[in-house]
Symmetry: C2
Subunit: 464 residues, 2 copies
């Protein structure tokens, strides 16, 4: 298949840098999607961007700002006079607008807010009143709200009236006289309904909703499951405040997974390319210090077995093998458990089942790999280390058994620790990683050297 | 805040198990969201489900099937006669329908397909013709398509006509006489437009689109970035085949991240709770065998340094510390690199910058932790192992330097390997994990024991 990249950057740059009249340039640029124009913005000089601010109309500029990340948007605002800036911001989705305002210094923010409509200012205040981890902070107030006692015709004209200022029209939300959420109407149903039909027949009263103060982590699964275009957000008195759109949900899912992924790898938050060195160090240091501390604990336990190694130096070479495998198996169980916990709420019985299932997998995989390493490592020691056959297979037998035990216990640990953290309401992805590694390392070291000492030195009296 | 769980399972079960008449039961159940009804289905007995199939209307049943996972849906179909089953399936979104058909045995599938409309059958064939990793396999054919030469009024009536059978109406797609994709109309613009206005003015010709044969991994970022409610999918002749809705995008983002997360943890695919033991073993075994093999390589390298350990057994206790820290740092760099690669396409210069940035972080963090372990471990050996102060700090100095070097090199390895895999078009998340661990282990072992041998034994002539 021929390559058809849709990279319009070059084309757009060419238009902006050409010498055509403002009117022609504007109509040409309007042929591009706001997202593509937003992508070009950082590559322009300040002069070129200023040209754009003059040429494009307000709606186009506010669209571009919506597709721009908030750091950049705050930068661009410095190049625009306050009045125009306020006009652009006012036209944005409220959640995006609030994010940009976060990045602007206080004095300028005051100025911008003063220039906005009362209505916009009110919406900003509502959204800004919620914490970052509450779902209310991510909603947009941009939605169609109608009263319950209308006819189909009245509802339709109310929609036409509101549509000019609101983007999310595919669902209409119905409220009572006290502004309490009553239900939702699918625009499709409204469009195909006969004009004289009662609106009541069209209202879906089972439409899902969330409360603004709910934790994002708690309701994101619900939002995903219902897969509606927009889900209403209510205050504690069941009044409709705004909606979470599917674009919001995509961002939230992305963020949530990105964070879990980062934490799983021992970072305190997601990093990006442009981050300054100090920031990145700060995000990685906490885990590394914890891990170093825990590593020292493991080392001091290994130190206890110094005499085993002095008598039988060969077994020390395989320590890394046992520890690594225990770590790998623990990580697998951890990842499965975190994912299962994220998607579903488990009953006690299911949790026990999960632990047993993981242990069964650990046992079976451990058995297979134990036998494999018994065979291979025995041969290796016999051939390359010049030991007797008995000695070689005694050592590799010890390694095989230690591997089996370590894998079995690591599976259990890798499942129980995240379950425990979930129970005490700590995010399992943050807390589990280092603890599991340490516990598994300790278990593996004790099992391995303990077995070596008892079996090889005490029972078989091997040395050398 | 009082607890307001929206768990309707109990309520719904009560209604189904009550003795009310079919008509009343149907109208009561219609007050619930199809997603909530779908959640209840697995908890019902076969008899109760059969009652539901008789009581609920086709649209409600097909909605419930859309919210049911395809394995369960295939099970339920066995309880329904083929004719009714075909009617329910025909009303589903085509992508969900195709997924259910995948789980049904051939004979029954033939039967079901024969009972469906030509149109539905055609849509199924189109979607089924794409591979699982092509975006075409995830689209729905459920969208509003209008011809370009209509007036606003004609477009509106064409919409009303099509809306009855199509759910995704928020964007109308405009095609030429040859069915080629021409542009899109935001329903909002159509609704507020004057009836006599030319449709042409409303058409956005810069609307984003994808080709059905594009790889999901390649276009998922684009789909996310444009954040439109639905993005058209074209065939190679630019004819409109269907759309990717935002609900599809949410599923895709979720899948993509879940897969990366799983692969990062050494699983070949995401697992869930109900999976049989054999399946789970199969998903985990491949990595474990690779890791065991690589672990044996590391062990044989450690074996080379047996004589160092025999002369200076104390340094063996800290091997796990150095290896673990190298592994942790490598994992952090790997995670950052994979995330950066997923979100952005980097220029060569940016890649070099990324490697240097990671190495700088490795150097700084390594320096800090190196000094920390020099101080702490020296004290530990002096106090608890009964060695001289010189001996203690010579050993801990060697550990500190080895830690710094290992962390520096691990950062570089953790960044370069995923960049390399990306370059040769292998998913970095699959391939990087075990290779990075092994390379880092090898580097750490050689650095640590090498330094120990040269500094402590050759230069300082320490032993014991």
């Amino acid at each position: 298949m021929e390559k058809r990249t849709q990279d319009y950057t070059g084309e757009i740059l060419k238009i902006i840098r050409s010498n055509t009249s403002p009117a022609v340039m504007c109509s040409r640029l309007e042929d591009y999607h706001a997202n593509d124009l937003a992508d070009v913005m950082p590559e322009l000089t300040v002069q070129e961007r200023c040209k754009l601010y003059r040429i494009l109309d307000m709606d186009m500029l506010s669209d571009i700002f919506e597709y721009t990340d908030s750091d950049n948007a705050a930068e661009y605002l410095k190049e625009i006079d306050v009045k125009k800036g306020a006009a652009i911001l006012s036209r944005m989705e409220t959640d995006a607008l609030v994010e940009v305002l976060h990045k602007i210094d206080k004095a300028k923010k005051r100025l911008l807010l003063d220039l906005m409509d009362d209505e916009v200012r009110h919406d900003i205040e509502v959204i800004a009143s919620f914490d970052d981890d509450e779902i209310g902070s991510k909603m947009t107030t941009n939605c169609i709200i109608i009263r319950e006692n209308l006819t189909v015709k009245q509802a339709m004209s109310s929609l036409v009236e509101q549509a000019a200022k609101n983007d999310n029209i595919s669902t209409l939300f119905v409220v009572t006289e006290q502004q309490k959420f009553y239900g939702a109407i699918d625009l499709k149903d409204l469009i195909i309904a006969r004009q004289d039909r009662a609106l009541e027949d069209l209202v879906v009263t089972s439409y899902p909703y969330v409360y603004a103060e709910e934790d994002i982590d708690d309701c994101i699964e619900k939002l995903k499951d219902y897969s509606e275009d927009s889900v209403p957000v209510l205050d504690n008195d069941n009044r409709l405040l705004g909606v979470i759109t599917s674009a919001n949900i995509i961002d939230l899912v992305d963020d949530e997974m990105g964070e879990d992924y980062a934490m799983f790898a021992g970072l305190t938050a997601e990093e990006d390319l442009k981050e300054p060195l100090k920031e990145s160090m700060k995000k990685r240091m906490p885990w590394l210090i914890v891990l170093l501390g825990l590593g020292m604990v493991v080392s001091s336990v290994v130190g206890v077995f110094e005499h085993v190694v002095t008598q039988l130096p060969i077994i020390m070479a395989f320590q890394s093998l046992i520890l690594d495998m225990a770590g790998n198996v623990g990580t697998q169980s951890l990842a499965v458990t975190i994912r299962v916990l994220m998607d579903e709420s488990l009953t006690g019985k299911q949790k026990v089942e999960l632990v047993f299932k993981e242990m069964k997998i650990g046992l079976c995989n451990g058995g297979l790999l134990g036998i494999l390493s018994f065979a291979v490592i025995g041969l290796y020691i016999y051939l390359f280390k010049g030991k007797t056959l008995l000695f070689s297979y005694a050592v590799s037998g010890c390694i095989g058994v230690a591997l089996l035990l370590a894998m079995l216990i690591s599976s259990a640990v890798g499942t129980c620790i995240p379950l425990f953290f979930k129970k005490i309401n700590i995010d399992p992805a943050v807390a589990s990683g280092p603890l599991i590694t340490t516990v598994n390392d300790l278990v593996a070291v004790v099992t391995y050297y303990g077995l070596g000492w008892i079996l090889l030195i005490q029972v078989l009296h091997l040395a050398g």
